[in-house]
């Protein structure tokens, strides 16, 4: 504290400036990404883009309808597989907060959440692609489901843990059985939080590429058969952006734009739900 006041104030100012500059510099990539994606992608987007199949190199036009449908299929499979199990597990964890098995389960779920998505892809390959001898939408969906699981379980558990104990007591005191109390009182009271968690999980997996590389694999054609490979938007972005053709780069930008819109829409809806639709006690 030998420093003069002026020196201290100067240091404080300098510090403030450094913090502000660093903090806002870190946001520049967002600006960059948005500018690039919108500037380069918007030109390729038209009705054709959404309803046509991709064309071979050299031919103009073409679309990515197969990838949009494919993304939808893979995400739907993941949603159908992951949601019921994760809801039940989330309820289990919040109902049995202190048991030893719950602690073990919580650690396991942390482990699952920390597995790199490429390793999840390996698992789906070993468990589904290899026995079925074919890349498939199903294996891609399963890989994404494994990524979804911990996200939904965590958010469900946290939401339910926040509910006051008096809520369940009110129900029990009316002679309502346990399962009805959970299904008709506890889950409805936490519904907005649960749905928010599911939407965030969907936003998260919609953009996943790594686990799809050797599961959904990609497919230049339209495919509705879940035992066959499908194309997805992230795969289009990856394959087209790493190709040497200018024209494909444009398609990749446009696909990235569509992907960003999908991801941000889900995130936005999730936020609106968690803000607007709060259960008050």
């Amino acid at each position: 504290m030998m420093e003069t006041i002026n020196k201290r104030i100067f240091k404080d100012r300098l510090f403030t400036i450094i913090v502000v500059v660093l903090a806002f510099t870190a946001c520049l990539p967002l600006l960059g990404i948005l500018t690039f994606v919108i500037k380069n992608g918007l030109s390729a987007i038209n009705v054709e883009f959404f309803i046509r199949l991709p064309k071979p190199v050299g031919e103009h036009g073409g679309g990515i309808s197969n990838a949009i449908i494919g993304t939808f299929i893979v995400v739907l499979i993941a949603f159908i597989i992951a949601t019921p199990v994760s809801l039940l597990t989330g309820v289990y964890l919040s109902e049995n907060r202190k048991s030893v098995f719950s602690e073990v389960l919580r650690v396991s779920i942390d482990v699952l959440a920390s597995i790199p998505s490429i390793v999840i892809g390996i698992i789906a390959y070993l468990w589904i692609v290899k026995p079925m001898k074919s890349f498939s939408a199903l294996s891609g969906g399963c890989a994404l489901a494994m990524i979804m699981l911990p996200v939904i379980i965590k958010s469900t558990e946290e939401t339910l843990n926040m509910l006051p104990l008096t809520l369940r007591e009110a129900s029990f005191a009316l002679g309502v059985p346990y399962y009805r109390t959970i299904l008709k009182v506890i889950i409805p009271a936490g519904l907005s939080g649960i749905i928010t968690g599911i939407l965030i999980a969907i936003a998260r997996i919609a953009g996943e590429t790594a686990p799809l590389l050797f599961t959904a694999f990609g497919n230049p054609f339209m495919n509705f058969n879940i035992t066959k490979p499908v194309n997805t938007l992230p795969l289009v972005v990856f394959n087209y952006s790493t190709s040497p053709y200018e024209q494909w780069h444009t398609i990749a930008w446009a696909a990235a734009l569509v992907l960003l819109i999908i991801v941000f829409t889900f995130t936005l809806i999730a936020r609106i739900i968690s803000k607007k639709w709060k259960t008050s006690f």
């Binding site: 920390s114 490429i118 070993l126």
Partner: protein, 325 residues
């Protein structure tokens, strides 16, 4: 007297029923509350789904180990010291990729630290609400939501040319792609993650402590330097650790800009591969069993390393939270 006797009896009964553990009460409570078969079924389903999940994670681990057995048997520990990765001669040494992963994540973390801490301080201490912090917070949230393949794409078209420009200026072979490029893209990706963790940590610090320092006439810099940092140190380190875990496992963005070379990297400008990117590159092309199994062994290592890092980070944060409250 009679009452006293009864009380004694009751106590004895309980002691008799309770051989030093609560498990008995749990079991009895379980059966006493199971008067409706539907409840029993419901509780069983809940337990069953929990067990399923546990088994899933267990079998993921076992499955990875079993499938990497051929490679573990063939190379043993040499797998991690060998510098040659040659699918044609079935020679697999993973050291170049271990080095690639270590270098990229380490450099990425170094770049991330100042930015993420600046954001944490700005959002956690300087201005908790208001237009600018709202803007910053929303941008960070949006950045966190951008898929990694889009980061990779952005990297190819913005960061690769930028690095190439620098390389030309400094007379280095102008690949553009390489370890440094991958590190920069990685850092852009993990800054939002590290920053939001850091903000939570800084917000956890009780305000009385900061108020006390301000009341003594400290400047904001002094409060951050002498109060917040020492207090939040372990939490911030844990946040950085968790971000490191992210960086190690990240695949797509790295694969797209690292140059995909299986050689041992000589400089930070050299093209290379990380453990994750080699899997992404070669998994579908691996024809031989040993090649596939070697790639899976790399996956096992990734699994173990990220798990240890993330659990360590979480334990530190939990301890920090307990210490604070």
């Amino acid at each position: 007297m009679k009452n006293e006797e009864k009380k004694q009896n009751h106590n004895q009964e309980i002691c008799h029923l309770n051989p030093d553990s609560e498990i008995f009460f749990r079991i009895r409570a379980f059966f006493r509350t199971q008067h409706s078969p539907a409840d029993f079924v419901f509780r069983t389903i809940l337990l069953f789904s929990g067990i399923m999940l546990f088994l899933l994670i267990l079998s993921i681990f076992c499955s990875l180990i079993i499938n990497s057995m051929p490679s573990i048997k063939a190379f043993g520990l040499k797998f991690f010291t060998g510098t040659v990765w040659d699918p044609v001669f079935e020679q697999f040494g993973a050291l170049p990729f271990v080095a690639g992963t270590l270098l990229t994540s380490f450099i990425a973390i170094i770049i991330t630290i100042p930015f993420s801490i600046a954001i944490s301080i700005y959002l956690g201490e300087f201005s908790k609400s208001g237009a600018y912090s709202g803007l910053l917070k929303n941008s960070i949230d949006l950045l966190a939501g951008v898929p990694s393949v889009v980061y990779g794409f952005f990297g190819i078209f913005v960061i690769v040319p930028a690095v190439r420009y620098i390389q030309i200026r400094f007379n280095i072979a102008p690949y553009g792609v390489g370890i440094l490029t991958a590190s920069i893209v990685l850092s852009v990706m993990i800054i939002p993650f590290a920053a939001s963790l850091g903000r939570e940590i800084i917000e956890m610090i009780p305000s009385e402590i900061k108020q006390a320092a301000y009341a003594l006439g400290s400047t904001r810099y002094e409060v951050v330097r002498h109060v917040i940092f020492p207090y939040a140190k372990s939490g911030l380190i844990a946040g950085i650790l968790l971000a490191l875990g992210r960086a190690i496992g990240e695949t797509m963005a790295v694969t797209m800009v690292i140059g995909n070379s299986n050689m041992m990297p000589k400089t930070i400008f050299a093209p290379a591969n990380t453990m994750a990117s080699i899997i992404a590159n070669e998994f579908t092309e691996a024809v031989s069993n040993l090649h596939l199994s070697s790639l899976i062994e790399i996956g096992v290592v990734l699994f173990i390393v990220t798990t240890i890092i993330s659990i360590a980070g979480k334990i530190i944060i939990r301890k920090f939270a307990v210490h604070i409250s």
